[in-house]
Amino acid sequence: MGHILKNRILKGVMTRHIDLDLPQEIELCGGELLQIIQGTFGRSLNIREVDTGSCEACESEIISANNPIYDLQRFGVSFVASPRHADALLVTGPVSKNMLVALKKTYQAMPEPKFVITCGDCAFDGGVFKDSYYVEGAVNKILPVVLHIPGCPPSPLMIIRVLLSFLKCRKYS
């Protein structure tokens, strides 16, 4: 414990050695996002993530959006362990046939009001996998999708920016 405290005090901000290149607008856009989410959802936006056959690069970037550098959670957006706790469903991957039932069941388990966001090019239209014999393709053919985060994979900054611009223009009832 002493070692950790000493280290923490000596080091100050942990990120100092790393050239992080964090754009200034991230704090700003996060603040705005927070305001909107507070207006719509009371305190926070809870997201449940489902992988329907992605290559796991999207997952890695969603995790990165929660790391100490981007720290999405400080703006009131958090990822939850159960669909029962979620306001939004974040879907990645081109929907493998094996995941179709699990995807629908996860959506059904969510309380109202709820909406679906897709993340990554595969979830939009199947992406590079769309011609496969085992892929259902576009998530919006299965569930009502209101927002898409483009990219292969989308960067953490992209994820945060798109979430903001969506919540800004949509009045969710």
Binding site: I18, E49, E56, S64, A81, S96, N98
Partner: protein, 525 residues
């Protein structure tokens, strides 16, 4: 080992052995064609001589040309740095071959894969449940990797049968496919007696996307971009293994400069994944402070990747015939400075972890994978080295690693701590290797050559961060892919996890799982 030597060695164990033909098209590959009748005995003899598990077992549909299926079984000869393939032709009227699974467990999953994808029966395999084509959604009798498969024919659906453990006080805990974290889908069924796990059955295949079929018919120069989408956290290793297979087919040898650049990026990929796993292990025992530190280090490496090549996950670098970009002095310098800083941060991270008694208590002797078990089920890569099996393709097929004086890390105990220590030493070694390779870059040599496409087949292989990634490719005369077989290290190692968790308590499963950190998408394809 030339053909005649290996034939003699096999004959000593199995006197009836004879080959139809023996090919050595490349210095590191040897293909022996045998009759289906002696396939099993020949494979078992090779297994004994080479002390190798089955590293690859796959089928091809050649019915259009020869009216036959082909099954290839690949072994690895570490002493001579050679891949040895036993190949048989199977008549399409009687599509079966003798199963090896009862004698070599490592072939079992490959055989199940051949059965579900091609409908070629491995006679004698006691377990023919399908791995990826789930019975609940895919009717029996549809074999998607056959060339004449066009559309699914409807039929009756079934249900997967889990093996059950029965007895007083035993209960089952089903988990998944949708897990609590931000992670891929898979179903785990624990049978427990009180707290300890007495059986873990995995059902994977949820991310099956038909990758191998999608490769077919594509131009191999363009298909390299697709190989980056097979497993996102090993995008560089997958595209490199694919490129190496293509280059062997085309007869291109890349320049030294390109080989150094590839090694640098391969090690960067290893570093960000290893530090991510170290953080993951800390998270799974509830130690969030070092987890946050490792997330910072990982993010730093991802941003360095972006600075060097424009992609956080090292995509669009590999080409068939070389690499697409070079590192100028500026980039080299910023990499050197970055590595220096990251080394300091990383040593802080390991100090925090290894000096915490409660952390060490959780990881020490948890999730032990015994050396014997690991060998029997064909575990490879990092997980094998953590159990005391010295396999690393960087050592046995060194290339540029030889000049850099690569040192293979190895641990004996096979527990979570051993795998953690492996990651720590490999991270440090990767740092050193990158510095060595950077010093060797001259900026002047040509870094890519245009390939000449032709009809051939070859095996490309890379030691990725999890373990070997293998691509077996066959092209036609126009350079279009006829068959692409992919084996990610995860495919063999998922079984290792099943054995490692036995006797451990259910709350330790996440940390055992994270210490292997296997890919769902690389396994399910």
């Amino acid at each position: 080992m030339v053909c005649s030597e290996i034939i003699l060695a096999v004959k000593k164990l199995f006197p009836q052995f004879s080959v139809i033909s023996c090919e050595e098209n490349y210095a590191d590959e040897l293909i022996m064609k045998v009759t289906p009748q002696i396939f099993k005995e020949a494979c078992l003899a090779l297994h004994k001589i080479l002390l190798s598990s089955v590293v690859m077992l796959f089928a091809l549909d050649e019915r259009e040309k020869t009216g036959k299926f082909v099954v290839n079984c690949v072994f690895l000869n570490l002493r001579q740095s050679k891949w040895i393939t036993v190949s048989i032709d199977i008549p399409s009227e009687t599509p079966y071959f003798d199963s090896l699974a009862q004698n070599m467990y490592s072939s079992s999953f490959f055989e199940r894969e051949i059965w579900e994808m091609f409908g070629i029966e491995p006679k004698g395999n006691p377990d023919l449940r399908r791995l990826r084509l789930h019975d609940e959604v895919w009717p029996q009798g549809n074999f998607p990797l056959r060339k004449d498969f066009t559309k699914k024919v409807e039929g009756s659906l079934g249900e997967y049968k889990f093996s059950r453990v029965e007895g007083k006080g035993i209960f089952e805990i089903p988990v998944g496919p949708v897990h609590a974290g931000i992670i891929g889908p898979g179903h785990f069924r624990f049978s427990v007696a009180g707290e300890p796990i007495i059986n873990l059955e995995q059902r994977l295949g949820f991310t099956h996307r038909g990758v191998e079929k999608l490769f077919e018919g594509r131009n191999c120069v363009e298909a390299i971009r697709f190989s980056e989408c097979v497993s996102g956290d090993a995008a560089f290793a997958h595209s490199l293994a694919f490129a190496l297979a293509c280059e062997k087919i085309c007869g291109v040898s890349v320049s030294g400069e390109a080989a150094y650049l590839r090694a640098i990026f391969l090690e960067l990929e290893r570093m960000y994944n290893h530090v991510n796993d170290i953080g993951g292990i800390a998270t799974d025992v509830g130690f969030s402070f070092p987890a946050a530190l490792s997330a910072i280090i990982k993010e730093g490496i991802l941003q360095l990747n972006e600075k060097l090549c424009g992609s956080r996950y090292l995509k669009k670098i590999n080409l068939v015939g070389g690499v697409s970009l070079n590192l100028d002095e500026n980039k080299k310098n910023s990499t050197r400075i970055f590595l220096k800083n990251i080394k300091y941060d990383f040593s802080e991270l390991t100090k925090i972890l290894f000096s915490s008694v409660s952390f060490m208590d959780r990881v020490d002797s948890t999730g032990v994978l015994k050396k014997k078990t690991a060998k029997d089920i064909g575990v490879n890569g990092l997980a094998a080295r953590a159990s005391g099996i010295p396999v690393d393709l960087r050592k046995y097929f060194p290339g540029v690693y030889k000049e850099a004086g690569f040192k293979m890390a190895i641990e004996e105990s096979g527990d979570v701590l051993a795998r953690l220590r492996m990651r720590v030493s490999e991270f440090k070694e990767s740092c050193r290797l990158i510095e060595e390779f950077l010093a060797k870059l001259k900026n002047g040599e040509k870094i890519n050559f245009s390939p000449v496409l032709k009809e051939a087949s070859a095996l490309g292989y890379v030691e990725a961060w999890r373990g070997p990634v293998l691509y077996w490719l066959k092209t036609d005369s126009r350079g279009l892919i006829e068959r692409c077989k992919i084996v990610d290290a995860s495919f063999c190692n998922w079984q290792g996890l099943s054995y490692a968790v036995l006797g451990n308590i259910v709350p330790d499963f996440p940390v055992c799982n994270k210490s292997f950190d296997l890919s769902y998408s690389g396994n399910d394809l």
